[in-house]
């Protein structure tokens, strides 16, 4: 099938004026948007810049705005988009070049919620045991690949980048509700701050954008409730 691919271009070393380049491509309906970008880079314009690594929806490198909504280019099929495809960088993070954004503000917020396991008890001889039910409590939020599709789909984050954003809260949720972790209170105190969960206006864009289908708004609501009640069950 023939498609028209419209790609956002920006090169700060080249005058810095953003523009859209149009490419007319002959593609297979089962091709992914990433395949189209590879085709453009290989055969039409080698200067096109974008991030990609595993190309199989695991590394979270190629989140971009495709036809107005955040998706992973490696998981989005051409046949689901129609014959005109517009590809733009994710919103709310500074664009470095073409489809590449500066992810540092995103990772700064991520680090603030202490996304690592904290347990000051001496390690047991074998392992820290947990029942299947205790493990299931935070299973959904373990799936995050830090692609930033959720945070950069959030209207609150667009207006004010100091908001931690959905991804940071999801990763805090993963440890807050882990029965083996001992720093839930500390994390809840961090998320109760001005830049934390109360900035969430439940617009639901994050849940719709997540390529791993994490129920993000639900996870944020659970964190809000834990802050209010102190109940981690």
């Amino acid at each position: 099938m023939k498609v028209t691919l419209k790609v956002f271009r920006y090169n700060p070393e080249n005058g810095g004026q953003p523009r859209y380049d149009v490419f007319h491509l002959d593609v297979d309906p089962n091709d992914r948007v990433l395949d189209l970008l590879e085709m453009v880079k290989g055969y039409h314009d080698g200067s096109l810049s974008y991030r990609r690594s595993c190309a199989h929806g695991i590394c979270g490198s190629d989140a971009m705005r495709i036809n107005g909504r955040n998706r992973l280019a490696c998981k989005t099929l051409v046949k689901d988009l129609g014959d005109t495809i517009v590809v733009e960088p994710i919103l709310g993070l500074p664009v470095l070049k073409d489809l590449i954004v500066d992810m540092e503000p995103f990772f700064q917020a991520y680090r603030k919620v202490m996304p690592w396991f904290i347990n000051n008890d001496p390690p047991p001889e074998k392992e820290r045991l947990q029942t299947p039910e205790e493990r299931a409590r935070f299973d959904d939020t373990t799936k995050c690949i830090l692609c930033a599709a959720c945070t950069t789909s959030c209207p609150v984050f667009w207006a004010d980048g100091s908001y931690f954003g959905p991804a940071a809260i999801v990763n805090a949720h993963r440890f807050i509700f882990d029965s083996r972790d001992q720093a839930a209170e500390e994390r809840l105190a961090i998320l109760a701050q001005e830049e934390g969960v109360w900035r969430c206006r439940t617009s639901f864009n994050c849940t719709e954008a997540c390529p791993r289908e994490i129920q993000i708004t639900k996870a944020i609501a659970e964190v809000k409730r834990a802050i209010l009640t102190g109940d981690l069950s």
Partner: protein
């Protein structure tokens, strides 16, 4: 990077169902607030500038105002219902923030708000037509 310009670009160009409810909630809220402000101002005219009050009442009888009031009723219904949806989901049933159910709830709120609005819209439109056809 995040700023009002980025936010505006997102509001206008980002495509998601949840965002429709998010934007309508804010637009209807601002609309109702704007109407309340002018209503408080014109009612205050009775005391402060009585001759302007008569003029304000005439303005309310103008066609654009009558049409605007019909949509105001929908704005009140929508804002109230969507607010209830968010309160129930957030405070009572966080598990309802599940992808398919939450998206369906956006459509349901739209449908219910229109159904509640139709009788009032019909009555108000009938009144406006009668007023302008000399009835």
């Amino acid at each position: 990077m995040s700023d009002p310009k980025t936010a505006l670009q997102g509001y206008v160009r980002y495509r998601a169902v949840g965002q429709v409810a998010f934007l309508l909630h804010r637009l209807t809220g601002l609309g109702v607030l704007f109407f309340l402000i002018i209503h408080i101002v014109d009612t205050a005219f009775v005391y402060f500038v009585p001759e302007l009050y008569e003029h304000a009442i005439q303005l309310y009888r103008s066609l654009p105002f009558m049409i605007g009031e019909i949509f105001l009723v929908w704005a009140v219904f929508y804002h109230g219902l969507n607010g209830l949806r968010i309160i129930i989901f957030d405070l009572w049933k966080p598990e309802w923030w599940e992808r398919e159910f939450a998206i369906k709830s956006v459509y349901w709120v739209l449908v219910i708000s229109v159904l509640l609005w139709l009788p009032a819209a019909f009555t108000m439109a009938k009144h406006a037509i009668e007023y302008y056809s000399g009835g």
